[in-house]
């Protein structure tokens, strides 16, 4: 059985959907954060698959940008989440809507 590009794209779509659904249904900030990472990596997988399929370096190049942005996001996002969890253990993102002002 040959693993074609279609398989990779299907895996990416599945991962992305899992991430998206997780983001919508879960209320724990940390879990939602992981869901976002899942979606980002699903898109990365799609990029490299199509880059290889079309022999276009642009695909791989885009992945680096996404990785850099994701790394930066992790730094800030995790710090915020840890800070919130220290102050209000067990808080959900819905509880945090008070930050909206």
């Amino acid at each position: 059985m040959v693993v074609t590009t279609g398989w990779y794209l299907a895996l990416g779509a599945a991962l992305f959907s899992m991430g998206a659904v997780g983001l919508l249904v879960r209320r724990n900030p940390l879990v939602m954060f992981m869901c976002v990472e899942l979606m980002l990596n699903a898109v990365n997988l799609t990029f490299v698959s199509l880059g290889a399929e079309l022999a276009d370096l642009g695909g791989q190049l885009s992945v680096f940008f996404v990785l850099v942005v994701a790394a930066a996001e992790v730094v800030v996002g995790l710090a915020v989440i840890v800070a919130i969890m220290r102050r209000r253990p067990g808080a959900t993102v819905d509880d945090l809507s008070v930050l909206g002002g």
Binding site: L24, M32, V93, D94, L96, S97, V98, L99, G100
Partner: protein, 642 residues
């Protein structure tokens, strides 16, 4: 010496700066002596410049001393510079001279006041502004001084600001003067538009050369007249001056008699070539306005009971004389009367201050009487001032008033007749003041009408009036001497005794009217004026000292009420005027502000709708993003032709 002219305004400015920062630390009486000292220095500097100028030939007696460029703005360039000429030096001499005496007087008068140092700081600032007004080499610099003296006048009228009436009087003076300032500003705009410069030298030389259209000159002259009417308290803008008496008496003497109120006359004299270039009715307007104000104010002064109010209306009246002189083309006579008036009116005001001081702040002449026994120096000097203002020869007021009347006759006999009537009334009300204050028996201990407390009169009897300290009487004596001799600077006997006229010649650009030396008419006019003055004195003596004529016919209630003009203005402004302002306010509030607030409210409501989406629920946003992405995808898939 002329280059040192900057010292003249700089010294009072330095005094002000020191006093405003360190006045409290210097305290009493040091602050007063410091202020008096800088005024003395300023006077000496003026004297030096005067001696230098007096030695020069007439075409050489004008110098512009420029310090630095103040406003470089395109075509407009205004320097900080001084126009040193006979007119400005004459003004400076009596401003600094009389000013120094009044500063000295204030050391005694303000003794024990909480705001002692503040008072002298303001006085010095005022003198600085006044000197900038007269020395400035351009209309704008004069305007700077013009506003400066207005601000100081406000500060000093409301000096005892804890009393609401004083604060209101200050505001009234300021607001009334704004109308005049408007005229001054329009005149400046028109001048710059026409001449491309605000410097006196440029404007006056161009005007003398005859390059100005008559209509333009008329506009500028009339607008300057509006400014002068406001500052010099002429009809109908005189209303602020009687109220300005709320300030301490030295302020009334310095600002509201000797110096600031004459700045309107100064301005018109300074700009005399423009008046000469304007339409013929402009000088007539000035003359009639002046004589009308003079007569009008004199009638009011007849029935006042507050000693300072009498002098205030008297000042309005005498300023009217100066306007009459300007309108008659007698600029020398105007300046002459300005100088003599500065001496005798400052003397009278300071004398009244001494009386008020001796009477513990009581200003009502009905409570005075017999003060000659308690205050000999004040009485003696006051009598000199009285003779001077009543026009008794050879006191200074006689010479200057007579000169004005002679020119008025030359212009129109009616002007002369009204001026003469004013002179008679002046002699009358001043004699009344003397009679009520110094003559007769003391009434200070009498029971007063409407006074319930019988003890009050007895308490007052224990506290007899007293003569004022040396610092107050010394300036009175000096001013009394000046009020006697000041008339000799311009004697009408021959052209060689008119020293003031020769001295002022370079400032007047030959616009001074010259009377034919028909001596007989002038002597006759002078004789009539003297007789008129004596009649006024005689009637007042008969009424107030001998009691042969009842006093009621002379003290009409309508005169005591100042012809009800103040009251009518107040009633109009309080009634229809106020409704008008309120309507304007409503228009502003509902239409102008309404449009602004309406737009703001609309945006706010719209934003309120949008705010509902921004509820802080992260998952709602995520759902929105997801649905949006799905919708976009659907749109691309159905529409695109991929």
């Amino acid at each position: 010496m002329v280059d040192l002219i900057w010292l003249v305004p700089a010294l009072p400015l330095a005094g002000f700066i020191v006093l405003i920062f360190a006045g409290r630390r210097i305290g009493e009486p040091g602050a007063g002596w410091l202020a008096t000292g800088v005024m003395g220095g300023s006077f000496l500097a003026t004297l030096g410049v005067f001696i230098d100028m007096a030695g020069r030939s007439s075409h050489d007696r004008r110098a512009v001393v420029t310090l630095f460029e103040w406003i470089p703005a395109g075509d407009l360039s205004v320097d900080i510079g001084f126009l040193v000429d006979p007119l400005s030096i004459t003004m400076c001499l009596f401003i600094t001279g009389v000013g120094a005496l009044i500063h000295l007087y204030s050391v005694g008068y303000m003794h024990g006041d909480d705001g002692f140092a503040r008072f002298f700081a303001y006085l010095n600032l005022f003198t600085f502004a006044m000197l900038m007004l007269v020395l400035g080499d351009s209309l704008l610099l004069t305007f700077l001084g013009w506003e400066g003296v207005g601000a100081c006048s406000y500060l000093l009228i409301s000096f005892w600001f804890t009393e609401p009436a004083n604060a209101t009087a200050g505001k009234k003076a300021f607001v009334t003067n704004r109308i005049g300032d408007w005229g001054f500003m329009v005149a400046m705009f028109a001048t710059f538009f026409t001449f491309g410069s605000l410097d006196y030298v440029d404007v006056l030389d161009a005007s003398t050369a005859g390059t100005v259209a008559q209509g333009t000159a008329t506009l500028i002259a009339v607008m300057l007249l509006v400014g002068a009417v406001g500052k010099s308290a002429q009809f109908p803008l005189y209303l602020w001056l009687p109220d300005a008496m709320a300030g301490p008496t030295p302020v009334s003497a310095l600002i509201h008699a000797a110096t600031m109120v004459t700045s309107g006359v100064y301005l018109l004299t300074r700009m005399n070539p423009l008046i000469a270039d304007s339409a013929g009715w402009v000088p007539d307007l000035v003359a009639w306005l002046g004589v009308g104000t003079a007569l009008f104010a004199a009638t009011i002064a007849m029935a006042q009971t507050d000693i300072k109010k009498v002098l205030a209306y008297s000042t309005v009246s005498q300023l009217g004389y100066m306007f009459l002189a300007v309108g008659s083309g007698a600029y020398v006579a105007a300046v002459f009367h300005m100088v003599t008036h500065a001496f005798f009116k400052a003397l009278l005001f300071l004398g009244s201050g001494s009386v008020i001081h001796g009477m513990d702040g009581d200003q009502d002449m009905r409570h005075y009487g017999g003060l000659r026994r308690f205050m000999p120096v004040t009485t003696g000097t006051f009598v000199v001032g009285w003779l001077a203002i009543a026009g008794v020869p050879p006191f200074s007021g006689f010479w200057s008033k007579d000169e004005i009347l002679a020119f008025a006759w030359n212009r129109s006999p009616v002007l002369w007749a009204l001026g003469l009537l004013t002179a008679v009334l002046t002699a009358f009300y001043m004699t009344r003041l003397i009679a009520l204050t110094f003559a007769g028996e003391g009434r200070y201990a009498e029971q007063r009408p409407g006074e319930d407390d019988a003890e009050a009169a007895t308490r007052r009897a224990d506290h007899t009036p007293h003569e004022s300290p040396r610092t107050m009487t010394a300036p009175l004596v000096v001013l009394a001497v000046l009020a006697v001799v000041a008339g000799f600077v311009q004697l009408p006997f021959s052209s060689s005794t008119g020293w003031l006229e020769h001295w002022l010649e370079p400032s007047l650009y030959a616009n001074e009217v010259h009377l034919g030396t028909g001596g007989a008419t002038q002597v006759l006019l002078a004789a009539i004026a003297v007789v008129g003055g004596l009649v006024g004195i005689g009637v007042a003596v008969a009424v107030y000292m001998k009691g042969r004529i009842p006093r009621e016919p002379f003290e009409q209630p309508i005169l005591a009420d100042a012809w009800r003009i103040d009251r009518s203005v107040a009633a109009f402004m309080g009634g229809p005027g106020r409704r008008g302002f309120e309507a304007a306010n409503r228009f502003d509030g509902q239409v102008v502000d309404g449009a602004v607030y309406g737009i703001a409210g609309l945006v706010r409501r719209l934003a309120g709708v949008l705010r509902m989406f921004h509820n802080g629920m992260v998952r709602t946003y995520a759902t929105g993003i997801g649905l949006g992405a799905a919708a976009l995808l659907a749109w691309f898939l159905t529409r695109s032709t991929l």
